[in-house]
C-alpha cells in the first residue's frame, strides 16, 4: 500500500510533482512586490496612471507611515516614481508606475496564474 502511494505521488502530474515544480519557482518570485501593501500600491498605479499620496492611503486603507515606508522601497527599486509639488502651501506627492514597475507586476501576475494553473491541472 505504502509503495503504491509513493508511486502515485511520483507520477508525472501528481500533486507532489506539481508542488515541487512550483516551489522550485518560488525564489524567482519578486519579493519586493510580494509584500501586501507594496503589491497594492503597484496594482493601484497600474489601473490609475497617477495617484496622490492621500488617494493611495485611502484606497489601500493604510497609515501615512506605512505607506511612505513601502512607497519609498518601491521608489528605490525604480518601480514607481514620485513627483512632489505644492498646491498652495500644501505639499502634494503624486505617484506613478514606471515601465520597470509595470513589467514587475506583469511577471508577478504570470507567476501567480501559473501557480494556480499548476495546482488545478487534473492529475
Amino acid at each position: 500500500m505504502a509503495r503504491s502511494n509513493a508511486a502515485r505521488n511520483l507520477a508525472p502530474g501528481s500533486q507532489d510533482v506539481k508542488l515541487a515544480s512550483v516551489r522550485k519557482d518560488i525564489p524567482r518570485l519578486d519579493r519586493l512586490i510580494h509584500e501586501r501593501l507594496r503589491l497594492g500600491i503597484v496594482s493601484a498605479l497600474a489601473a490609475s496612471r497617477v495617484l496622490t499620496f492621500s488617494e493611495l492611503k485611502h484606497l489601500l486603507d493604510t497609515t501615512d507611515g506605512n505607506l511612505s515606508v513601502h512607497a519609498r522601497k518601491l521608489e528605490e527599486a525604480g518601480y514607481i516614481e514620485c513627483a512632489k509639488a505644492f498646491e498652495g502651501r500644501i505639499p502634494r506627492s503624486t505617484y506613478s508606475l514606471t515601465s520597470a514597475g509595470r513589467r514587475a507586476l506583469e511577471r508577478y501576475l504570470e507567476h501567480m496564474e501559473a501557480l494556480v494553473r499548476a495546482m488545478k491541472e487534473p492529475e
Binding site: N9, R36, A47, T52, L59, M112, E113, K120
Partner: protein
Amino acid sequence: MGKPALSLSDHALDNLSYIRSAMERASSFTAVPGAGGIGMGLTALGAAVLASGPVSREAWLTIWIAAAVVAGAIGGVAMVHKARRSRVSLLAEPGRKFALSFAPPLLVGAVLTLPVFLTGNLQLLAAMWLLLYGVAILAGSSHSAVVVPAMGASFLVLGLVTLVCPAAWRDLTLAAGFGGLHILFGWLIYRRYGG
C-alpha cells in the same frame, strides 16, 4: 502533502484577487458625485412635471434649459465638494480627463438645441439631449467606476427609445433619464464610491 499544495494555490488566488480589487478601487475613483446626481435627478423630475403641463413650446424649452442650468450648478458644486473631501484636485489627471471628454458632446448638444427646436420636432430634441448626454458620460468615464459608464449606456438606450416612442412620451423619457437614471445611479455612486 495535499494541504500545502492547496494552500499555495489559495494564496496565489488570494493575491490575484487582492491585485484585482486594488486595481478596481483605483480605477473606481470617480469625481462624479452621487449626492449631486440625486439632486440633479430631482431637479429634472420637477422640470418634467412643469414641462408636461399645458405650456407653450417656448416655455417647454425654457423649463428644460433652466433645469439643465440648475442641475449643472448642483453637479458642479457637488463635484468640487467631493473632490475637496477626498483631498483630490479636480485639475489632477482623472478630473481633467473626465472634463475634457465630457464637455465636447455637451457643447454639441447646446449648439444643436436651437436649430433642432426650430424644426418643431421636440421628440427629436429630447432624444438628442439624452443621446449626447449618454455619449458625454461614456466618453468621460473611461477611467471611472463601472457604474458611471453603465449610466452613460442607459442614457443612450433611453435616447434611442425616445426616438421611436410616441411623441407624447418625450417628457416621460426625459424624466426617466435626467430624473430616474440620475437618482438611481447617483444613489449607487453615493453608496459605493465615497459620496
